[in-house]
Amino acid sequence: MVPYTSGTFSGTTSPDPWVPWNHIHFDTSCADSDTTNVTICAATWHSWNDSYTAIIRTDASTSTTLWSYWNNRWTQAHPYAVPLCETQLESIRQAVQPTAEQQAQWRKIEEQQAQRREEEQKQLAEAKKRADVLLKAHLTPQQWEELEEKNCFHLFVGDKKYRINRGRSQNIQLLNSHGLVVKTLCAHPSEMIPDADTMLVQKLMLENAEQDFLRIAYQS
């Protein structure tokens, strides 16, 4: 957001805040369409002054009074949403400046969060490893080799050929005799488990309860 007031703002009569504000809120009723000169355009100022005073302050009849009132009112009501002059910003900075104790506490929290993230990553890697071991134990050597090479393996259920790709959802394909995809199927365990575990369940369901699986699966 463009600041209404600049760093050199020094009082209610300062032209500095008025310049950027005017550039932003240039009144189309102003005859002077050159926005570089609009700071002196009386029409814009009067238009804004009239409408604002009519709504907010009936007694703010002069531009100086109104400007002061507007600036105070809005910076109080929206200390973070409304751009402030530098002196106001500085006072807010000082007010919210964390103490050394707070900073130390925040650093500690950040360290704990980083440690937790690292631990989660380790657990995920370990889970993936365990799931791969379990899946490998339930695939033929050919299927496992295929999975390592192509990230997928195939299985026959009756005369149907399925491909299970590495993943959790939308990862099963029914193939025709030419190896082309006829359908994509999507069904997986309701809880988040490693992909290799998911693929194992998908394989077991297709082999042992194909009709149940097809009934549940989203097919596209």
């Binding site: 365990r130 799931a131 339930h138 050597p141 069904a187 309701s190 369901m205 549940i216 989203y218």
Partner: protein, 76 residues
């Protein structure tokens, strides 16, 4: 003879192992199986390895070598 249930979860799997000659261990395994089935888990029992298709089961078999239990599947 030793049996093993692998319960699939976010850690990969959690194992429950029992010795079919020890009734208290069998009881623990059966109890686990039953509780998970009530939650809708799927159970597959295996005898061999290397691509064994196994079979879907609804009751606990104390003589099973390996059982895999998975949360119910849902459509994607």
């Amino acid at each position: 003879m030793q049996g093993e249930i692998s319960i699939l979860d976010k850690s990969g799997d959690t194992k429950v192992i029992w010795d079919s000659t020890k009734p208290d261990e069998v009881e623990v395994a059966k109890d686990t199986f039953t509780k998970l089935k009530k939650k809708g888990y799927l159970a597959f029992e295996f005898l061999g390895k290397d691509g064994s298709k196994g079979k879907q089961v609804k009751e606990f078999d104390p003589d099973a070598e390996r059982i895999i239990m998975s949360p119910a599947i849902v459509g994607g």
